[in-house]
């Protein structure tokens, strides 16, 4: 049995992740003031739970887990979420009729469009994309943070990316970033 981590180590382990925690909180709540409160609550909660942290395990994933649970348990009730998209209605990106196979149009999309598509994903898909693609956490840490198997992380990511790509491509066609005549080849 290893000794519980010294309280003094908490700051060393937790403070370097404040930027990430804030960004995730902001993405979850959609509101800067709420994000600040959520980060504070998370740090307090993490400090109280510090004795159960296993030294040498991943503090970043541990903190994200606490933040997300905190959000689900208290904040989400107060936050209005946009209606999730109907997954079956989204045409997935097919290889055959793709006018921009290298995805150059992605770079032309403005943040609002990408954010809207991301926020419309069902939560379990949105969260893996948020941690994995936006924040660059490796599979293993995403699995720890969301408390799901790594295989589930990969399959959700795969599905989420296809849905998002289909959604964004449709948007690119609608707004003329991808030209209709190319679309209709």
């Amino acid at each position: 049995m290893s000794a519980p981590p010294a309280p003094a180590r908490f700051g060393d382990e937790a403070l370097p992740h404040l930027d990430l925690l804030y960004r995730v909180a902001l993405r979850l709540t959609g509101d800067p003031a709420a994000a600040e409160d959520l980060v504070q609550d998370t740090m307090l909660k993490a400090l109280r739970a510090w004795g159960s942290f296993r030294p040498g395990s991943n503090a970043r994933a541990w903190l994200v887990t606490i933040l997300r649970n905190q959000f689900i348990n208290t904040w989400r009730k107060r936050t209005r979420r946009p209606t999730a998209i109907d997954l079956e209605a989204i045409p997935e990106l097919g290889d055959e009729d793709n006018p921009d196979p290298e995805g150059q149009f992605f770079a032309s999309l403005v943040d609002d469009e990408v954010t809207r598509a991301l926020d419309a994903l069902p939560e379990e898909f949105r969260d893996v994309v948020l941690l994995s693609d936006l924040e660059g956490l490796p599979y293993q840490e995403v699995a720890e943070a969301l408390e799901i198997p790594i295989g589930t992380v990969k399959s959700r990511l795969f599905r989420a990316r296809r849905i998002l790509q289909g959604q964004l491509r449709r948007y690119a066609v609608e707004t003329g970033i991808i030209r209709p005549q190319e679309e209709a080849q």
């Binding site: 309280p7 003094a8 908490f10 700051g11 060393d12 403070l15 404040l18 930027d19 925690l21 804030y22 960004r23 902001l26 800067p32 600040e36 980060v39 504070q40 740090m43 307090l44 400090l47 196979p101 290298e102 995805g103 150059q104 992605f106 770079a107 999309l109 943040d111 990408v114 954010t115 991301l118 994309v129 994995s132 693609d133 936006l134 924040e135 660059g136 490796p138 599979y139 990969k154 990511l157 795969f158 990316r161 998002l164 790509q165």
Partner: protein, 87 residues
């Protein structure tokens, strides 16, 4: 060893592509993937597509924890655990 000998084909490459784009493939597997991408225009195109998508998503990750919040939290930790905690 050639791809024919190792049985490394588009299907196997496709299964590892996401990990490759994330830089999560072990060195040996990444080398195998790179060799495949040089030879296979289809997979190379898919790889560029996935990379472009990931690059776009990563650009959404912006912003820092505001300084005043950092200060509040440091202070909070000091109060809770003594001055050593937040150093």
């Amino acid at each position: 060893m050639t791809e024919r000998e190792t049985g490394y084909d588009c299907e196997k490459a496709g299964a590892e592509l996401d990990a490759f784009v994330r830089g999560e493939l072990p060195l040996e597997a990444a080398g195998r993937m790179q060799a495949h991408l040089v030879r296979c225009g289809h997979c190379a195109q898919v790889a560029r597509h996935e990379q472009a998508f990931r690059d776009r998503l990563r650009r959404l990750s912006a912003g820092c924890c505001p300084d005043h919040l950092k200060a509040q939290i440091v202070e909070l930790l000091e109060t809770a655990t003594g001055p050593d905690a937040a150093t």
